[in-house]
């Protein structure tokens, strides 16, 4: 028996290591068939399973036990079995359930994108465009909270929060001591610090990066600019506490904000420390590398397209080429 298991997602087969989740197997294939994930974060242990946007249908359990799974499963927390067959975008049931989840996520979301700092790089915004309805069926008052300052650099705007728990996991696993968490229950629950104790830690700023929505924002950047007017540049510096690899967001000559580098799924590559994030805002502090690669589907990429390069796995597999046809056509277009 080989040490790889074969899993088929939307008719595309891929061989992955045992213990891989369906979501990560799909990410290895890439393209449209990757389920969206709002709460799962590969760098945070224990995350995932909560937002339910990544649900998929398992139409065949495994080679040994071919029965389908009775319910839709969260792909981020379900590990693959040999011979498993998964339906994501080819299953109407999944599409319907996912749009239901998106609707649920949005009913208590203020939809204040025009004044939200996250707009343009917001996972929920993307998800809403892709799966949401044109209008809401929710006719009641949305839950509201007061804005809370967590320390002097981070602001928590609970109205926008989708309770993905990412920041809680970050604070638990990256920082030494967690001083914030979830209070209350159900749709009254909120991310909070007890008696608004400041999160005082070198790495606390990472909660801003992991937040999929605009609930946790950088106070040094708040209302300074829209992200699509800024120009991201990869840079690094010798930092004693972190890797020092960051993205600088320029507007003209000025560095408006510093964030960690993010991959195509919006996950940071390496967490960075607060000094890099909040205090080093001069070009002189940094060694500039090159402009950051931004996906051409992102609004930030407007006017600076780059040539698309399909993943190597796609280039060799005719089935994958078929599945990623739209993407490939774009490549040739440019």
């Amino acid at each position: 028996m080989s040490d790889k298991v074969k899993v088929t997602i939307d008719g595309i087969s891929v061989e992955v290591a045992p213990g891989t989740t369906i979501l990560n197997a799909a990410r290895q294939i890439g393209g449209d068939i990757v389920p969206p994930a709002m709460c799962y974060y590969s760098k945070l242990e224990g995350s995932g399973g909560k937002c339910r946007t990544c649900i998929v249908k398992v139409s065949k359990g495994s080679e040994k036990d071919p029965r389908p799974m009775p319910k839709l499963v969260a792909s981020c927390r379900t590990t693959v079995m040999d011979g498993m067959e998964v339906l994501n975008i080819t299953s109407p049931e999944v599409i319907e359930a996912r749009s239901g989840v998106v609707e649920m996520l949005l009913i208590n979301h203020p939809l204040d994108c025009p004044v939200c700092d996250q707009a343009g790089e917001c996972d929920l915004q993307n998800l809403g465009y892709e799966h949401g309805l044109q209008k809401t069926r929710y006719e009641f008052e949305r839950r509201t909270f007061e804005r809370i300052d967590i320390g002097d650099k981070i602001q928590l705007h609970m109205n926008r929060c989708i309770l993905c728990y990412r920041c809680v996991f970050t604070a638990d696993q990256i920082t030494n001591k967690r001083v914030h968490g979830i209070l209350n229950r159900g749709d009254h629950s909120e991310i909070s610090t007890y008696i608004q104790t400041a999160v005082d830690n070198d790495f606390s700023g990472n909660v801003i990066d992991v937040c999929p929505v605009g609930a946790l924002t950088d106070k040094t950047f708040r209302f300074k600019n829209r992200v699509w007017f800024t120009k991201p540049i990869d840079a690094h510096r010798d930092c004693p506490t972190c890797s020092g690899k960051v993205t600088l967001w320029y507007k003209g000559e000025d560095v408006l904000r510093v964030t960690a580098r993010k991959d195509i799924y919006g996950e940071v590559e390496e967490f960075i420390c607060n000094t890099c994030r909040f205090d080093k805002k001069k070009t002189a502090d940094w060694v500039i590398e090159h402009p950051t690669h931004i996906s051409d589907t992102s609004v930030i990429a407007s006017n600076h397209y780059e040539t698309l390069k399909p993943l190597p796995v796609i280039q060799n597999n005719p089935q994958l080429q078929q599945a990623n046809k739209v993407e490939l056509e774009k490549t040739t277009k440019f």
Partner: protein, 455 residues
């Protein structure tokens, strides 16, 4: 009169004390199990008995026990789920209040079968009197040598602890219960791994309902085969039913599974009929989370046969015409009860109790509650009814734990069976505030669906 197994000596004065309980034959099962049987034989007896989980899901207890992983050198735990919070269910509280030693005896036998040396009884926080009763009973049992080190000289050690919960309904879900027992926020865990592999403190754990654990006592005393003779089909033994609502004599009854529902409601031995000479409109057969049924479908199956109090018969007909055994919280509604109000009330409960971890349940329960509130108070629209059905569908099956399903089913079933009452609420927004829809045709005999063959 059916034979009582759990509540046989309920009326004996002082049965809550160790001495009286012992005189009435208590702790025989411990002696028998520890001195004459091996743990595997106890599991085998429970398997033979066909005992099914009494907490709601109805999963065979013996099977659950045999799934317990038994790695070397890792502690195993038995946790008793006494976080009884389902609206309409109060059997566990009754059992713990009046015969606490039945639970403790069951705990000793079950822990022995599973090889657990530390066991917990997780009691709902509101049940402070029961917690004191249990602690007193544990102290008595310990004095008599039935707990602690080297029980009855057999070399088996068991420590039993009572843990009060914080009063959250969600902590009745087994993984949330374990989280809470570990001292964390009571959020259900994502399964797999199941508790049988990694439960309390990451060790293999079995979580059982109070009644399931207490039922192991008669099983060991009389043998599994004897227990399996009671009941019908795969629903063996006796079950405690908490009967409430508009009944002449509500209360906790021990019934043989397979008793006709009609007999349970109307016979003088049990509930004695509907109070104040009214007529039955609807029932919730197994606690608030199971689908509600109108009177006609409660008493008869869709094919006209009488419905029985058993796991199979109550769920006969699936969600279209059936309900579920659930935890045995039997609620009867008479003709003057408003189903819309009741559905709103249940929905309010689930909204309040949702843990807020996964989005469909967190947001959906609140949404349903608000829409139902609007209909109940005469501000509803016709489209709201379909909206509710749609929202309940979006919640059902898409959540981490069964609370989402439990919140969706009562709403979906109420609309399925009582749609005209919901429509009446929308059409008569003023009238619905102070009058009721009444019985309508909910008690009329079911029209048999015509059997069509071929084209």
């Amino acid at each position: 009169m059916a034979r009582k197994l759990l509540l046989e000596h309920i009326n004996v004065p002082g049965i809550n004390t160790f001495d009286v309980y012992r005189q009435k034959g208590g702790y025989r099962a411990v002696e028998k199990a520890l001195k004459t049987l091996t743990p595997d034989e106890v599991v085998e007896e429970v398997k033979k008995s066909g005992l099914r989980g009494r907490g709601g899901a109805g999963f065979p207890t013996g099977m659950k026990w045999s799934f317990l992983a038994k790695p070397e050198g890792v502690a195993r735990y038995l946790v008793c789920n006494a976080d009884e919070s389902e609206p309409g269910t109060f059997k566990d509280r009754y059992l713990m209040t009046h015969i606490p030693h039945a639970l403790i005896e069951g705990m000793i036998v079950s822990s022995f079968a599973l090889g657990a040396n530390t066991s917990y009884i997780y009691v709902r926080g509101e049940m402070m009197p029961q917690i004191r009763i249990l602690e007193k009973a544990i102290a008595e049992a310990k004095n008599a040598g039935f707990l602690g080190k080297n029980i009855l000289g057999t070399g088996y050690d068991l420590e039993l602890y009572v843990q009060p919960g914080g009063g959250a309904y969600i902590c009745g879900e087994e993984t949330a219960l374990l989280e809470s027992l570990e001292g964390k926020r009571g959020n259900p865990r994502i399964k797999p791994p199941f508790p049988a592999i990694a439960g309390l403190y990451g060790c293999p754990t079995v979580v059982n309902n109070v009644e399931s654990i207490a039922a192991t006592v008669p099983i060991i005393n009389d043998g599994g085969d004897e227990y399996a003779k009671i009941g019908i089909g795969r629903s063996t033994g006796t079950k405690l039913i908490s009967a409430s609502g508009n009944l002449v004599r509500p209360g906790v009854y021990e019934i043989d599974l397979g008793l006709p529902v009609e007999e349970f409601i109307y016979s003088d031995e049990y509930c004695g009929g509907i109070a104040n000479g009214k007529r039955l409109k609807a029932t919730v057969a197994g606690g608030s989370s199971v689908p509600i049924l109108p009177a006609n479908l409660t008493l008869k199956l869709a094919n006209g046969e009488p419905r029985l109090m058993s796991y199979e018969s109550l769920s006969e007909g699936g969600f279209a015409t059936g309900s579920m055994m659930g935890s045995g919280g039997f609620i009867a509604f008479d003709e003057d009860q408003c189903i819309v109000r009741n559905t709103w009330n249940f929905s309010r409960f689930y909204h309040h109790e949702s843990c807020g971890q996964c989005s469909p349940c967190r947001e959906g329960t609140g949404w349903m509650e608000k829409v139902l509130h609007r209909i109940e108070y005469g501000h509803g629209k016709m489209s709201d009814i379909d909206l509710l059905v749609d929202v309940s569908k979006k919640i059902e099956g898409n959540t981490i734990c069964p609370l989402g399903d439990a919140a969706a089913w009562p709403v979906a079933s109420a609309i399925r069976h009582f749609r005209d009452e919901f429509e009446w609420h929308v059409k008569e927004p003023i009238k619905c505030l102070d009058t009721n829809y009444g019985l309508a045709n909910y008690a009329e005999p079911i029209v048999k669906a015509e059997v069509t063959t071929g084209n």
